[in-house]
């Protein structure tokens, strides 16, 4: 029984309550408290991360309390390597997002003084943010599938309100679309969860005890489908992706970062942990179709991204492409590809986060997400342009930046995967590698149209990044470059979990490591 994870969840919840109860007109205080709380969480997370033993048992910091005995539901938490890095990701992103959206609820003015967003309740926004953080930590930490489901669904509500009441013009449409899409998936998953409980007949939802509980292949297939559809919507995978561009484009930049950076990871995380380990046979049976969907997402997302005229939508579509890579890595079922996929979840969080925030800062100066409304920004605000470019390059996974490592691992892991003798995976890897070219097109074309060329009139008045904005972006860029050259710390945490996963999936897919390679 380790108290760490419950504490980790309790702190932001308490923080949220405090913030919500602050007296009227204490907006500034509310922001400061929120930031403080999130920093505390970050510190605690780091403490946990440091104590995590890479050689140790799979689930560490476990804590299991009875919650609903008559349903056999426990409040069970614990982290394995992948969960840990994802929790760390959330813990890092939240303070950054708080700083980034410092003025989002205050009502923002564009450079030429026109009001972009009206004043909205600051306290609500930031307490929602903290509630969301608690749930994000919870969803990754849950070792009880029922608990996981609870967080999986409950997470939607704060995000729904953040999009709906703080978003752009189309916000309510986007928010509803987001909620219904996810709810629908979630409900299907609920059926699967119940069925899993019933069929397994172990009177528990604890993940470790349910691994290998379902033997009958047919049952596996059905349950797998129930889980997978929910995760595919969340991830999002083609063709159930269309909610993301709307949601991401309408959400305030900060919320968008958490949405794409963390919430959607729950989907891929769920595939890797639940779909694969609970229903290995079904997973293997469905691999090919899923990999095909993933490849479609990769290429399709990239192509559609090229055609976007709205920065945030563009970034959203790039994410669809990237999620394609993650899914492909997960289902290629090789050590390298899955480690790559897990690493990709983290890196994508940083890269897309940085890109969204940089774009957000740009948009905040002009009030328009349309690429056409910008041009020659670099001349006016070199810093902003610089960060924007680096984030963009991370988006096209330039070697030397963190996202390259993961993308490379996913692709090469997929190509070399021996999980399914057929060359299909190899073909998938090669086709997906085409995204390398497309990515260059969509990112650099956006950069060219916004940052380069003669300076547009509307842009002349722009101010370059202020200290707050630099403090927001700098750490992300540092992480991107740092992990670009030293991914080892993350991979060392991830690898054992992946190995364990592959064991549970009963795929014998030797890591390339064993056959020579580096000295």
């Amino acid at each position: 029984m380790s108290p760490w994870l419950p504490i980790l969840m309790a702190v932001p919840v308490l923080g949220a309550i405090v913030v919500a109860l602050l007296p009227k007109g204490s907006d500034k205080l509310a922001k400061q408290v929120t930031l403080l709380v999130s920093l505390v969480v970050l510190v605690l997370t780091l403490v946990v991360a440091v104590q995590f033993k890479t050689g140790g048992p799979r689930f560490q910091f476990q804590a299991v309390y009875d919650w609903i005995p008559s349903f056999g539901v426990k409040f069970g938490v614990g982290v394995d390597g992948i969960a840990l890095v994802l929790i760390a990701l959330s813990a890092v992103l939240v303070p950054i997002v708080i700083l980034a959206s410092w003025h989002d609820a205050d009502g923002t003015q564009s450079a030429d003084g026109t009001l972009i967003t009206p004043k909205r309740s600051v306290k609500t926004y930031f307490s929602l943010l903290l509630v969301l953080e608690a749930m994000m930590i919870g969803v990754f930490a849950a070792t009880d599938i029922f608990l996981f489901y609870v967080f999986f669904e409950a997470m939607l509500i704060p995000m729904y309100f953040m999009i709906g009441s703080y978003g752009g013009a189309q916000r309510s449409y986007a928010a509803v679309k987001f909620l219904l899409y996810s709810l629908f998936g979630g409900l299907l998953m609920l059926v699967a969860v119940i069925a899993l409980y019933v069929v397994a007949g172990k009177n528990t939802f604890m993940f470790p005890e349910l691994v290998g509980a379902i033997q009958d292949p047919a049952t596996q297939k059905w349950l797998f489908a129930g889980f997978f559809i929910a995760f595919a919507i969340k991830a999002p995978l083609w063709p159930v992706h269309t909610w993301l561009p709307d949601a991401a484009a309408q959400a305030p930049a900060g919320a968008a970062v958490l949405l794409v950076g963390v919430l959607d990871k729950v989907g891929t995380f769920g595939m890797l942990r639940f779909c694969l380990e609970l229903f290995p046979d079904a997973a293997k049976a469905f691999t090919m179709p899923i990999v095909v969907l993933a490849v479609i997402s990769i290429i399709y997302g990239a192509i559609v991204a090229i055609g976007q005229t709205d920065m945030k939508r563009l970034i959203a579509y790039t994410s669809i492409s990237h999620f394609g890579f993650i899914v492909m890595g997960v289902f290629a079922m090789s050590q390298v590809s899955q480690s790559g996929a897990a690493l990709y979840m983290v890196n994508h969080g940083f890269a897309t986060g940085a890109l969204f925030l940089a774009a957000g800062f740009l948009i905040a100066r002009r009030g328009s997400p349309h690429i056409a409304d910008y041009g020659g920004v670099q001349k006016v605000t070199p810093l902003l342009a610089g960060f924007f470019l680096i984030a963009g390059l991370a988006g096209l996974s330039l070697p030397g930046l963190s996202s390259f490592v993961s993308e490379f691992m996913v692709m090469i892991g997929t190509y070399t995967s021996t999980a399914f003798g057929s060359g299909a995976l190899a073909v998938a890897a090669i086709v997906s590698a085409l995204a390398v070219i497309l990515a260059a097109v969509y990112i650099l074309w956006m950069v060219q149209r916004t940052m380069n060329g003669p300076t547009a009139e509307s842009v002349k008045a722009f101010k370059d990044l202020n200290v707050r904005e630099i403090v927001v972006l700098a750490p992300l860029v540092a992480l991107i470059i740092g992990f670009g050259f030293f991914p080892k710390p993350l991979l060392d945490v991830i690898n054992p979990t992946v190995t364990q996963t592959l064991v549970n999936v009963k795929v014998d897919n030797p890591a390339i490591a064993e056959k020579g390679a580096g000295q």
């Binding site: 020659g376 390259f404 490379f408 085409l434 070219i437 080892k488 000295q519």
Partner: protein, 639 residues
């Protein structure tokens, strides 16, 4: 056939152990300049130069230590740290091949750094320029020093980035921005090849590290489809970086960058990375008559002609030089395709070319500097009196490139040509022809620029450039004069490289023969070309505006319609596809979802009409329901 030496793990520290400093210095420089930003404006350029020089010094020391070792010990792998656990390490491979490149990069690089101090003196963004230059040097060094394909790839894309930044250095010029983007994207096409090549290598040999690959290949000489595939894919990568057909189109636009960039990146170093890749991956292009090796030579030959033809028609001095760069790299490729016999000449030509081409580019820069950035040679003329130093150095470079006897180019290029004639006669004679054309367009350039009478704009009053710009020219031209002979005569370079790239069997060991048919033919053709150029541009009046010219001329002026081809083949279909995809996503996929929602809404709207508000209708529905229930039950009961 003498195969490359075993790679040994470097254990002793020494200079080789510290060779990573070579990369660290410029990287540090770039980091400082970028992070501290405007603060460093005053001394930024000096720091940049210092870092570049420092890494040159390291290179030299490493080189000295290396040649101190016995020949079979001259391949030292330096492991730095674990990059992707259990899969790839970060590490350097110090061997004759990589060190020659390192010397070229840092040496020429430093000279160009120095030159840029003067050239960019009036640019407010000079500090940024130097940070990019440093970044480039670091990346390029990683490219050539890395001891596995992953490290190589990182450097490979790193130089791509640097080139993107530098081509687009004056990004406020739309042309520059577009050119930069184009360069990066076209390069990415090549990178795709390299990437997939790495997939196959890993799948086949379970490693991406040169040393292990060497061991594996030594154990079982590779063969079969996989190798061909690997070879062709690597070639694709090489074509992207080295602007070989069919991926040549970006290089000419790349001239949008400041001239020192064109000199360093798009002439001396980066564009030769393709050649490095081919030579470094020699094992996959073996035997020399294998399909993939042949492909390399063919690409080389084709490009050397294409580049030369383009060079003939350009009035923009830099584009002319760019064309010649393409062509010269074509020669190197041709050589590299011939296997160990050609490697020495290819690398040799690469090095000498690095000198004389950089020399000429910088010369051109100096001219532009004098003519307020005018690039149209038709607006030059008679400059030799006004900028003698520039003229002399440029002229030396010119002689070197056309292969004037006893100058660098004469040895290295002839080496390639003769080896080619010997092993691939057809390609060889094409190369000879190319040499002739080279003679023509280079002479044309020189005549139009330095001879004839002035055709300047009114406000142009040319002057010699400052010493900080001329000294590099002088040093480079010295290299352009002697380096070739030194490297080729008595096969010095070949023997030096042997441990790294292997060497031909003694029987095939080329001996330098000044009176070989091919050599003489080349000289003759060059002379003819030069003479023709004199007739057309030296003696005759050069019209201030280019005459329409024959189809061939237009063909050459328009870069052999390369862009037109790309446009109609890729860009337009691509744009169409994109538009369709977007439409499909909004109307098709999303439309389906929204349609479903609308459908349910509509159903609801229609169904609620059933709720008429008449109590009797409700009663009817109840009765109806009752009947239904009863009916159903009777039915079920009697099933």
């Amino acid at each position: 056939m003498e195969s490359p030496a075993e790679i040994v793990q470097h254990t002793a520290g020494g200079m080789i152990g510290a060779s990573w400093l070579m990369i660290a210095f410029p990287l540090l420089g770039a980091a400082i300049l970028l992070i501290l930003g405007r603060m460093t404006n005053r001394w930024g350029h000096l720091l940049g130069v210092a870092m570049s020089l420092a890494s040159f010094v390291v290179a030299v020391l490493t080189f000295l230590e290396l040649i101190g070792l016995p020949a079979d010990q001259r391949r030292q792998a330096v492991r730095l740290y674990e990059f992707i656990p259990g899969m790839v390490d970060m590490g350097l491979l110090i061997d004759p091949l990589s060190i020659s490149f390192a010397l070229l990069i840092t040496g020429v690089g430093s000279l160009i750094h120095i030159y840029s101090i003067g050239y960019m003196a009036h640019d407010p963004e000079r500090r940024r320029f130097f940070s990019y230059l440093n970044l480039f040097v670091a990346a390029m060094l990683l490219l050539v020093l890395a001891h596995n394909y992953v490290g190589l790839f990182i450097g490979w894309e790193g130089v791509g980035l640097a080139s993107y930044l530098l081509i687009g250095f004056w990004q406020f010029k739309p042309s520059a921005a577009v050119a930069a983007k184009k360069a990066f994207i076209v390069n990415r096409v090549g990178d795709f090849g390299l990437l997939v090549g790495m997939f196959i290598i890993l799948a086949t040999f379970h490693t991406l590290t040169f040393s292990d690959l060497g061991a594996q290949i030594a154990k079982s000489p590779p063969s079969g489809g996989a190798i061909t595939a690997i070879g062709l894919l690597l070639l694709l990568g090489a074509c992207g970086k080295s602007a070989q057909l069919p991926l040549q189109s970006w290089l000419l636009d790349a001239m949008e960058g400041p001239t020192p960039v064109s000199a360093l990146i798009h002439a001396a170093t980066m564009v030769t990375a393709g050649v490095y890749l081919v030579v470094r991956s020699g094992a996959f292009f073996f035997p020399p008559d294998s399909a993939q090796a042949l492909a390399v030579s063919i690409v080389g030959a084709a490009t050397l002609l294409a580049g030369a033809i383009i060079g003939c028609a350009k009035d923009d001095i830099k584009k002319g030089l760019a064309g010649s760069t393409m062509s010269q790299i074509g020669y190197m490729m041709l050589g590299a395709g011939l296997g160990p016999v050609g490697y020495a000449f290819a690398i040799g030509h690469l090095i000498t070319h690095g000198f004389f081409k950089a020399d000429m580019f910088l010369g051109a820069g100096s001219v532009m500097h004098a003519m307020n950035d005018e690039v149209d040679m038709r607006k030059y003329g008679g400059l030799r009196k006004f900028m003698p130093l520039t003229f002399v150095t440029f002229f030396v470079g010119y002689l070197a490139i056309i292969g004037f006897p006893l100058l660098s180019g004469y040895f290295t290029k002839d080496g390639i040509i003769e080896t080619a004639v010997h092993h691939q006669p057809i390609l060889g004679w094409l190369a000879v022809l190319g040499a002739g054309i080279t003679g023509f367009y280079m002479s044309r350039m020189v005549f139009m620029t330095f001879f004839g009478e002035k055709r300047w704009e009114k406000d142009a009053h040319p002057h010699e450039s400052p010493a900080v710009m001329t000294w590099p020219l002088i040093l480079l031209s010295i290299g352009a004069v002697f380096l070739g002979g030194y490297l080729i005569l008595s096969n010095r370079l070949m023997d030096f490289l042997a441990p790294a790239v292997g060497a031909p069997p003694l029987s095939e060991r080329p001996e330098f023969d000044p009176f070989s048919t091919a050599g003489l033919a080349t000289l003759a053709l060059v002379a003819v070309g030069a003479g023709f150029a004199w007739v057309r541009y030296g003696r005759a009046e050069v019209p201030a505006v280019a005459p329409r010219g024959s189809f061939l001329t237009t063909f050459a002026r328009r870069d052999l319609f390369g862009d037109a081809l790309n446009e109609s083949l890729f860009m337009r279909p691509g744009q169409w596809l994109t538009r369709f995809a977007v439409y499909f996503d909004n109307r098709g996929v999303d439309g389906l979802v929204n349609g479903l929602a609308a459908g349910i809404g509509g159903t609801s709207g229609r169904l609620r009409r059933i709720q008429t508000g008449f109590a009797r209708t409700y009663a009817l529905s109840i009765l109806f329901g009752a009947a239904l229930l009863a009916g159903a039950l009777l039915l079920v009961g009697n099933i």
